[in-house]
Amino acid sequence: MSDNEDERLRRALEAAHRGETATPFRALLERRPRRRTMLLAPLAFAGALVAALVFWPHAPPPPPPPIELSSLQLSSRGPLDFLLTMPDDALLAQTPRFDAKGDWP
């Protein structure tokens, strides 16, 4: 890279810094830091939020309504219950009737 280009970069960097005036040394040392409090503010906010969530007095959940025993109805249906039902259940549940000739109606 040539000296010309180095010189060009030197001028460019000088231009980037052009017009900057340093805050006086003493004033800078004695000034109140601005950002430090700015940094702490979100932290404090987040901390307060977490604390509020953790220590928030939770109300106990309302007790469940009393159960009336008479209203309880138990039923169960097993997966193999169908094996207990027989074909023509209705026919077998009653006594067969025959007419006077002895035929099946």
Partner: protein, 168 residues
Amino acid sequence: MKERPALIDRALASELAELHPASFGWALACCGFERQEAEDVLQTAYVKILDGRARFDGRSSLKTWLFAVVRHTAADLRRRRLVASLGLERLFSSLVRATPDEPAVGSDERTRVRAALGRLSRRQREVLDLVFYHDFTVEEAARVMNVSVGSARVHYQRGKERLLEHLR
């Protein structure tokens, strides 16, 4: 704060004051030319030094060491801000910051160069600023940036090429 002889503090403070204009320019470069941020960084760095939390060990020039402290402080502030903020800090600062840090109007050339610098990597920007504005050698810049000389040379070379390209 540790008790230190007042004489040492005065001598150190006067050396810091002497280097202050250059340190201020460096702090600005480390903070993307954000004036308020640069002031925060520089103030924190000075307090660190005057408190004895950062000690000059004489292995380099005072200026090189001071610039390294400023750079480290700027990086630390950036990191803490990133961790602490989660977006909230930006919200807070936008609420508090009533006036811009610097007048928006600047010389065209300054705006153009700053924009071009903004397109480089942080390390490229830093090494170019140290070499071309603060007259450091690449070796001294490497010490400020806490990288090897080889690495600083690479950043320097690529930074130069890219900056020239963006300025074209």
